[in-house]
């Protein structure tokens, strides 16, 4: 990238400078002998033009909005439109959550993000025995279209975009959203949003799986095919590294395991007969913004470049929209501390800034109280204001990819790219992401990193402010948001009413058709949509599919 003569001179000067330093370092050594980031990549004292001289600017960095999209997916980035501010929210009943959504929209939030409770995420109705204690706890309880109608009451689906963190039953929740759209007079082609629909990371890191990998991949490719025809503005998957990172992976592993999952989905869809440019433009991603500020920025840039190369070289995608990686980011929940919770506001601000400097398309900022409970309204407001501050006060949005060209950022972008690529090669050798998960490889890699990280904290090699340094005596927080256990009772009553009001014969017939379709190879989406419209419950629909597909049995990855 640079002139030979200049590089030689810099190298000579650097040597002189380092030699001079030696004497003073003996008297005043650096804080550590070796510096490294969370991925274990050594960090030099200073980076120089020579550290990025191998890069080919146009091939590896390029211009914003152009291959390989290292500098961002749009030519103008935030000079044109800011990222979507999208706070993940949901608790208790559809009524409670609807109120929170309307509060967030009034506060200037620009998109919705639905958190479902665990029974919903695992395909159980609120009256299921395993749902006891869980209804409405980590998200909103949705049993049928009835609940979904209440959830989006007075929220115009042609105006907002909605992201839904739903995986194993993603097809059912998408169908419910489409049905609410129909009731509001919004055609499916006008709906905008995302379903997470990423089952592989449920097996490896998040845990809300239902069916085994093979039928799960079939449902996912059915959704890809259906969405490309019927809901063309919908992101049919959000391939997620967020939870892989939360489970303890390093930044490099987050990129590698997420993109390996992405490769598995693209292969499955191509295998099912789809053209890569038919579904490629609707693939989206989801990353974590963790503590190491510069490492995170480089990570986002490296991930974009790596996906562009994979899509163009490996899968021969031609449409630039298939090749560009669009992603959502959430700040790292696992870095929030229960000690001195106000410090979390600052952590979140740095993390959010790294996501913006990394070129995210949408962002969730965590609330300071989330190491205890679901966020209070006040805490959510501060979290949203943090994004608004970055957007409107810091000035970082006025030029595209402002850290490009930093010797360190570009060098680190290359390092993360290369290390992630090596991991992907290793996963390819194991037979791809699904096989690597079935062998427990990815789970083991993640849990080993998590354990090392914890040991670093306990040995005081890693400082956690307020936890292992700078501690104070403090009172436990009060007035936490609590979910009333009566939510389960009211959900069960609503289910009983629903089952006495609807046409049960019709529901039975539709579910039996769904079962037959699952046994065959037809696209399941139209059947699920019919079932939802007839007010079949989420649990009934998932049970019909369980009958045919069975349930996933995880592998054990602890111990020898």
């Amino acid at each position: 990238m640079f002139d030979r003569k200049m590089l030689e001179e810099i190298a000579r000067e650097h040597k002189r400078w380092s030699d001079n330093l030696e004497t003073s370092l003996k008297k005043r050594p650096e804080r550590k002998h070796d510096f490294a980031n969370t991925s274990g990549i050594p960090v030099n004292r200073v980076y120089l033009p020579g550290d990025i001289d191998d890069s080919d600017y146009m091939d590896e960095i390029g211009l914003p909005g152009e291959y390989p999209f290292t500098r961002g997916v749009q030519p103008t980035m935030y000079r044109g439109r800011l990222w979507t501010m999208r706070q993940y929210a949901g608790f208790a009943t559809a009524e409670d959550t609807n109120r929170r959504y309307r509060f967030l929209l009034e506060q200037g939030q620009t998109g919705l993000s639905v958190a479902f409770d665990l029974p919903t995420q695992i395909g159980y109705d609120s009256d299921h025995p395993l749902a006891q204690g869980e209804v409405g706890k980590v998200g909103v309880a949705i049993d049928s279209l009835k609940d979904m109608e209440i959830l989006f009451d007075r929220i115009p689906l042609d105006k907002v975009s909605t992201s839904m963190t739903i995986n194993a039953p993603a097809a059912v929740l998408l169908a419910m959203y489409m049905a609410v759209g129909e009731q509001q007079g919004v055609a499916s082609k006008g709906l905008r949003g995302t379903i997470q629909n990423d089952i592989l990371k449920e097996y490896s890191a998040r845990g809300t799986y239902i069916f085994p990998p093979k039928p799960s991949m079939r449902i996912i490719t059915d959704i890809f095919a259906f969405c490309s025809r019927e809901v063309p503005q919908w992101n049919s998957i959000s391939i997620s590294g967020y939870h892989i990172r939360e489970a303890g992976s390093t930044a490099v592993q987050e990129v590698a395991f997420t993109l390996a999952d992405g490769i598995a989905y693209v292969e499955a869809a191509i295998h099912a007969g789809l053209d890569v440019d038919e579904f490629g433009p609707r693939l989206s991603f989801f990353f974590n913004a963790h503590l190491d500020f510069l490492e995170e920025i480089a990570k986002f840039r490296a991930a974009r470049r790596l996906w562009a190369v994979i899509m163009r070289e490996r899968f021969k995608a031609k449409d630039p929209r298939s090749i560009m990686m669009r992603f959502h980011t959430q700040t790292a929940g696992c870095t929030l501390t229960a000690k001195q919770p106000k410090n979390n506001i600052v952590r979140v601000a740095f993390q959010a800034l790294s996501a913006v400097l990394g070129g995210t398309q949408s962002l969730h900022t965590n609330s300071m109280d989330e190491a205890f409970c679901l966020p209070s309204e006040e805490a959510v407001q501060v979290a949203l204001r943090t994004q608004q501050l970055i957007a409107h006060e810091t000035g970082v949005t006025d030029t595209v990819d402002p850290l490009a060209g930093s010797y360190y950022i570009e060098n680190l972008t290359n390092e993360i790219y290369e290390r992630a690529q090596k991991y992907i090669e290793a996963i390819d050798e194991l037979g791809g992401a699904a096989a690597a998960i079935e062998k427990g490889y990815i789970q083991r890699e993640i849990q080993d990193s998590a354990y090392s990280y914890q040991k670093e904290i306990e040995k005081n090699e890693r400082v956690v402010v307020g936890v292992n340094r700078f501690q104070v005596e403090e009172e436990p927080p009060k007035d936490l948001l609590r979910v009333n256990p009566a939510v389960r009772v009211s959900q069960i009553e609503r289910l009983e009413r629903l089952k006495s009001d609807r046409n049960n014969e019709k529901v039975k017939d539709i579910l039996s058709d769904l079962r037959s379709a699952a046994e065959g190879s037809e696209n399941l989406m139209p059947f699920i949509l019919e079932a939802v419209r007839a007010y079949a419950t989420l649990g009934e629909i998932c049970d019909a599919l369980r009958d045919v597909f069975g349930e996933y049995q995880p592998v054990s990855t602890l111990g020898g």
Binding site: L118, G207, A338, F372, Q447, L558
Partner: protein, 133 residues
């Protein structure tokens, strides 16, 4: 119990919560400290956990929940242990558990709660000093 017998711990994930980073870190640390750890995996009902604890003849049950369902599931597990006459097993818990819930959980017999930021060394020491048999 002879002194040669290793401390046996059941590391368990009751309910539907999928967050297993914490329990796996603790399981690894307990194993490194010389204990024998049986990990249940995700989505265990209280009945399954109590059954496994009895079958495996464990000295300790370490429960982890981050979904907020501890208020129902922890007391239910204690109730079942009592019904089965299991009174000499040390039961500890962890996860996202508000301070104001801890007193109630201790009342039903959970010996200690370890929240976010807890050190595995402290958990190991606690177990060694508070075994019931």
């Amino acid at each position: 119990m002879t002194s040669a017998r290793k401390i046996r711990v059941l590391a368990a994930k009751p309910g539907l919560d999928g967050h297993d980073r914490g329990i796996k870190v603790i399981a690894n640390a307990l194993m490194d400290a010389g204990m024998e750890v049986i990990y249940t995996g995700l989505r265990q009902s209280p009945e399954q956990i109590v059954e496994t604890a009895i079958q495996e003849d464990v000295d300790v049950i370490a429960l982890s929940i981050l979904s907020g369902a501890h208020d129902f599931l922890f007391p239910r597990i204690m109730e079942l242990l009592q019904e089965k006459g299991v009174t000499d097993v040390l039961v500890i818990g962890g996860g996202i558990i508000p301070d104001e819930d801890i007193a109630e959980l201790k009342k039903v017999g959970i010996a200690e709660i370890f929240g976010p930021g807890a050190y595995t060394d402290d958990i190991i020491t606690y177990i060694r000093e508070n075994l019931k048999r």
